[in-house]
Subunit: 247 residues, 2 copies
């Protein structure tokens, strides 16, 4: 399903009126008790107008995800070799956050609704899965030809989505009061630390033929050193001094 | 929904007969074209028998997930403080693999079916989400009171599930010919490397109030040391000698 066939790129007032009417009824009567007929009656339009914008009642709950998914795909496609891949997918995930943060009241209402209605949770899982696939596809391209490329792509995409959603949910649970950007930045920094270039240097693999894994990219006040257990102590001290640099 | 209310712990022949009949019809006619009436007619039982075992037609496609989820929850609950948490969730994920590997032909057929039927993919996403929540809940307990405990729990659970599924899918795509255990072990090792204790030692947080992050759990021949840049060299050497142990 291409987004353009379902959702017009410009948001006409009728589409917004349908979303507003739907949410007013969902909150007043409950999601299950509200029909599409109820929604179109309140919005003052016909059934066909509803289905021109939304394939189903579930879709009106998530009116902006198609657009956001298209934005994310375009953003990733516009990236070049100069963009560090893990950082790029973190930045792509921030597009989702921005969509939520644009309208805190609506986002918090939807969060509560989604937790109450099992059908909406299932729908949300499928949306999240599509974001995750978009990130994984991009990373698979960036890691093509490298050992474990698809494995790393899938794992990092899942980690980015989980971190983003952890930060997003803590903001939604604060009723949209806190700083959404800071919560998500903090969560994504954890993933970048684990999978960005610094964590690779800390893993045993890059120790390679020589005795030392290079410390690289750590925060300024911490030095990390990996060495074989049988490395002579004088070599360790030499490397350590080089890594710590001038005091 | 408790698993015991839906799925008897022992597998009676009738349950297996229903699964076998369902899959024969799904493969012959297609999933959508097969009704519950068709399945019970072929299995020679009544409709009520079907619904005693399976809440819906979708559930017959995934007959063992409730049992596996219960096994996983019990396995995690049985773990003690002596189990390294990331390793424990990796071992829990291997229970899912074992279920697939017990019956390769059935698992490969189901994999193909699930890829063809959107409704089954949505169902599978909800199953995967329940496994991920079980792993995350366990890790949240283990990381309780530690900085970013829920963040780390959610991210690691997602990474473990993604790695497991990457290994599982590569085995399913080989038509169950390859070594399922080896594929999944390899994938999970990548996650353990990123999030097990070695990676923690590289992150600034565990450096804590003292100058040293502890090296622990590395492969025997590699020592990882994290220290503040301003730590006196004699302290570094002292810690390093302690960490390397007797030569």
């Amino acid at each position: 399903m291409s987004s353009s066939s379902v959702v017009p790129t410009a948001k006409p007032p009728m589409r917004e009126a349908l979303v507003a009417a739907a949410f007013r009824l969902f909150l007043e009567r409950g999601y299950e008790q509200t029909t599409v007929d109820d929604i179109v009656a309140l919005a003052g339009v016909g059934r066909r107008s509803f289905f021109r914008y939304f394939p189903s009642k579930e879709d009106v709950v998530f009116p902006d995800h198609e657009r956001c998914l298209a934005d994310m795909t375009a953003f990733l496609a516009a990236g070049g070799a100069e963009h560090e891949p893990v950082r790029r997918v973190c930045d792509a995930a921030r597009l989702v956050l921005r969509m939520y943060a644009e309208n805190p009241t609506f986002s918090v209402q939807r969060y509560r609704l989604t937790r109450q209605v099992p059908g909406l949770r299932a729908y949300e899982l499928s949306v999240v899965w599509r974001y995750e696939r978009a990130l994984a596809e991009y990373l698979r391209g960036r890691f093509a030809g490298r050992p474990d490329g698809t494995l790393r792509a899938d794992v990092i995409a899942a980690a980015v989505v989980a971190a983003h959603n952890n930060g997003l949910r803590s903001w939604l649970r604060s009723d949209g009061e806190g700083d959404a950007g800071a919560a998500v930045d903090h969560a994504l920094a954890y993933v970048q630390k684990a999978f960005g270039r610094p964590a690779e240097a800390a893993a045993p693999a890059p120790v390679g033929p020589g005795p030392f894994g290079g410390p690289a990219g750590e925060p300024d006040d911490v030095v990390v050193l990996a060495c074989r257990r049988d490395t002579p102590l004088w070599r360790v001290v030499q490397e350590l001094e080089a890594a710590r640099g001038p005091a």
